[in-house]
Symmetry: C2
Subunit: 597 residues, 2 copies
């Protein structure tokens, strides 16, 4: 297993050269100034922590995993101690509101820290990550009393949180859920039912766990209109803030999973557990959706993470492993064979991974900037604009990046040949860990329906037109730039095609609603490839400028131009197939009766 | 984990309706007649054995795996007993030569048995499977004395075999290997060295293991011209055939792998182990290649197997799991939601898997028929023709089918949502088990170089022209068949494009040999999609004929036509992208210097 090395140079390329983080922060209303020095200090500290404290836990977490007993779940050796260090370093509160003890930094800084920690050990990173949903739910919908009771310790990381949604018979379709909440005394309810797939449902890393639980009140309407939201702590919090009695919520068992073994997944039994209503009765589901964008973005990051881990593993191996001679003559004539990085197909795999990892970094940091703007922009207009972009980009970011993160992890194994299949090199763990990313926080199919149904057709194309205008403007601004034509021409064509396809689907959906689902995932992927082309074109542009200006780090900028070329010649052409399959319509999917399967 | 159910109806569709096994067998010189009744008896017995004896071992093999001790490797509970039953049933000798106690059945019958056993438990199926290489090596290159000593017990399955090729520093590039063989007495050598990744290197299922080992004689030429082949038994065989002393070959450790945990992978230490030369000195590597076709075909089968397992798992789940309503109105109005098989994107996943599984069955049985003909055809001309087809089709079969087998296994997990990621349903095991298939027996990259370099360009296009003539003839014979035009037109176009791309690559390779590697895998995949289109068109044709003739089993034939349509509209368009990436050439892969990665 290779030790993780934080890719600080590439992160700074995106922050400084590509997305101008310092200028971006001037557009925000924040209490503290976030200058270049502060940014650098944060990412360098996070890099050290990730490399030195978290990365060593990655193989341990996988091989030992979590263990269940009736007394609770034990996390892998070292997880708890690392979490303590993480809290002592103030990391949990980085992007949390100052009113509850947070440091108030924007989401775009936090996401870089998340990338680093998650790349070092995706299983470990879930524990602090899961607090986010609980905190944001309480912030947006909790009463003042609930906020005061729970938020300070959640923000500091002293307590962690969960989101208890799924039941064995329903995940996506939460309208079917059965867990009950019965009023008991003033402001208190008793919850009964069983939730499954509860990440961090129980563990030994924090002294209390605040579960945010979806349940039904007595006589509530059927379906999703009858779901309410509750806070259910593992230990009851006394009025003086101390921890009181153990509440009636227990981990009944834990799941045996393909990967992320260090990240516990629990069956949680609620037996008359005391809970507190969050927000209005029967409005629980809507409350959940308000912060979905940031949760999905965090999951989307895993596409970047698994690509980065695959790349960091595969490149040194390809540079060192000697096998066969280059077809164009020996490249290592004094050795017994050439390093496999000379072989074109090995390069195809490596460049595919590289174009994903670096492209995703650009894409996800850009989306994080929109999160910043949506919350902290100085004008309401800017906020609204950012929210529109977020609405469109979030499902693409989640669905597209995680699908390709799985592909990158697969290629990472492939570069190693048979060695990729054994534990030693960490590549098979990366592939197993990656596999969950297209499933949780909404499967790719769900992201795709959200994109084409709610966002594209739901806005009558407006969201798509807005974003494509940004791309067209970029292309037009470069129409006299000869060296950029190899990028701007295909980018412009792909964007035009994207708009056309959206119209095509919209028109055919008017007569057959199944056309929406039939086109959905291919449309999401088409969108992703076009957007990634936009970011690769922007990266090429800024690299050309740096090279012309006679920069240092020439290799970095040359590598960006080369990778952009690879992306446009070898990856963007995937849209040719997607156009054909989208246009083929719903018939080939829908005509076969269920019993013929 | 769903119990495996042998897909006998679909197997008979391919044997009877599509490929006419009974007529095919009349073309062979075999001692016994293999009539329809015999065929059915064999596959029905193999089905029972696979379902009842082997399938229950699949989760056990995964969860318990193999254990190492200094005394040897212990296989998972039940593996040994099942192997004994397998031998008692006469399965190991089915397609083995009668001169050594085999039953002399053709490879095309054996491959169906392999499919069934392998689908039931891929880890278990490796143990009898690995004998094949040892037996074929001895048959083709061993002395009469070696054959008499080793073959009868290998053929009966009483002993198993291995192929000891890989060393830690070389797998693909065997010219680098270092294991030494020093002559000791008459016909005997002492072997020393360490081999890794030795499948079935040690285990408790058979009383002796015959290792076929590549090693270097003293003063042999460097590289692949200095490699010889030896038989090294675990126990020395006395002249009376009884087992003698333990030989100096031991399993030093076993690998921790992503999947196929029940299939042991050993580090084998040779410490002056007694070995016997097979064939000529320094001709070991050539000897190994003679039976590569059948070994690669067996591995190719795993693409079929993992698709079939994914399909058998995912379809019932999709038919039973209730979530959301169909966009075109409730399909299960009395239930709380519709089964997810009503949703277009779930159907896209299922139909993708189905089109692979059934397409691969047709493709691989067809290739097995060519194996039959290459060995047993009545005329030398037919043998030569079959050998030419095999040379072209084998790397495609191995590379293409295993790549898409991995894809199918991935989709199998996806259909289950989060449930796919946990052990219970067997889908994550199927994906882990599938991952080795593109790595061993030559990675996809190696298959692709073999295809485009040795087979296509090496024959100056002749092999490709021969096979494409078969496809064109099929299309031309149907030019007046209106209902077949939706298949024959795109098939014909794709085949024409296939030939054009081969020429394009050949021409650009003349000035830059890197163009071969740059195009290789995409060309292999293009070839595979075109060939699968040929088989789906043939399946559609025979199904139309059956339906017109007023057959029973209408659902089967309708399902074939629907799946063929899906394949042509949703899968074959992948060639559009591959054409573009092949034509993009080597520059985008080769221009970046190694240090810029």
């Amino acid at each position: 297993m290779p030790a993780y090395k934080a890719p600080l140079r590439d992160i700074r390329f995106v922050m400084d050269d590509l997305l101008g983080f310092s200028d971006h922060y001037k557009l925000l209303n924040t209490s503290t100034e976030i200058d270049a020095e502060t940014q650098l200090a944060i990412i360098e500290e996070a890099a050290k922590f990730s490399e030195n404290v978290i990365s060593p836990l990655n193989p341990i977490g996988d091989q030992i995993g979590c263990t269940w007993s009736a007394d609770g779940v034990t996390t892998p050796p070292g997880f708890k101690e690392a979490y303590q260090q993480y809290c002592e370093g103030g990391w949990p509160s980085l992007a949390m509101p100052e009113s509850f003890g947070g440091q108030g930094l924007p989401e775009s800084m936090n996401i870089i820290v998340s990338e680093l920690v998650c790349s070092a050990c995706v299983a470990w990173s879930g524990y602090p990550g899961l607090r986010d949903g609980a905190i944001k739910t309480l912030l947006s919908h909790g009463s003042e009393s609930l906020k005061e009771t729970f938020l300070p310790n959640l923000v500091s990381g002293q307590w962690t949180g969960t989101m208890c949604l799924t039941e064995s018979h329903c995940g996506t379709d939460l309208g079917q859920l059965k867990t009950k909440a019965v009023p008991s005394s003033d402001n208190e309810y008793k919850l009964s039912g069983t939730k499954i797939f509860i990440s961090c449902g129980d563990h030994d890393m924090a002294e209390n766990i605040v579960h945010i639980v979806l349940a039904r009140l007595p006589d509530s309407p059927a379906g999703s209109a009858g779901i309410s939201l509750f806070a259910v702590p593992k230990f009851i919090v006394n009025t003086d803030g101390s921890l009181g009695a153990r509440n009636g919520v227990n981990c009944g068992s834990i799941e045996h999973k393909m990967g992320i073994h260090g990240f516990v997944t629990c069956v949680m039994n609620f037996d008359g557990a005391t809970g507190y209503l969050i927000g209005q009765p029967n409005k629980g589901l809507q409350a959940m959706f308000t912060f979905m964008n940031s949760a999905r973005l965090t999951t989307a990051l895993q596409g970047l993470v698994h690509s980065e881990v695959a790349y960091q593993g595969a490149v040194p191996y390809a540079q060192e492993r000697l096998a066969m001679r280059s077809l164009s003559g020996p490249k290592n004539p004094d050795g017994p064979a050439d390093p496999i990085i000379v072989h074109p197909d090995v390069r195809r795999l490596l460049l595919t991974i590289k174009s994903f990892a670096e492209g995703f970094r650009a894409f996800s940091y850009y989306v994080a900037q929109q999160l910043d703007l949506s919350e902290h922009a100085k004008s309401d207009e800017s906020k609204a604009q950012a929210k529109q972009l977020l609405a469109l980009l979030t499902p693409i970011c989640k669905g597209f990046m995680t699908e390709l993160g799985c592909e990158a992890a697969h290629h990472g194994v492939q570069v190693f040949g048979g060695h990729g299949y054994i534990r030693e090199w960490g590549m098979e763990q990366n592939q197993r860990d990656s596999r969950i990313s297209t499933l949780y926080e909404g499967t790719t199919g769900i992201q795709a329906l959200d994109l084409i149904g709610r966002k594209v057709l739901g806005s009558k194309g407006a969201l798509l037109t807005n974003f494509s205008a940004i791309i067209f403007e970029f292309c037009q601004s470069l129409q006299d730039n000869q060296s950029m034509q190899e990028f701007t021409q295909p980018l412009s064509e792909s964007t035009t095609e994207w708009l056309t396809l959206a119209k095509t689907v919209g028109q055919s959906a008017a007569s057959d609603p199944e056309e929406i689902g039939a086109a959905s995932v291919d449309f999401l992927m088409f969108s992703g490839y076009t957007i990634l082309a936009y970011f690769w074109a922007r990266m090429a542009k800024v690299s050309f400028e740096k090279l012309e200006a006679g920069c240092e780090d020439k290799d970095l900028y040359l590598s960006k131009v080369n990778t952009a070329r690879f992306y446009f010649q070898r990856i963007l052409p995937r849209t040719a197939t997607l156009k054909l399959t989208i246009e083929s319509g719903a018939a080939s999917l829908m005509e076969m009766p269920s019993e013929q399967f």
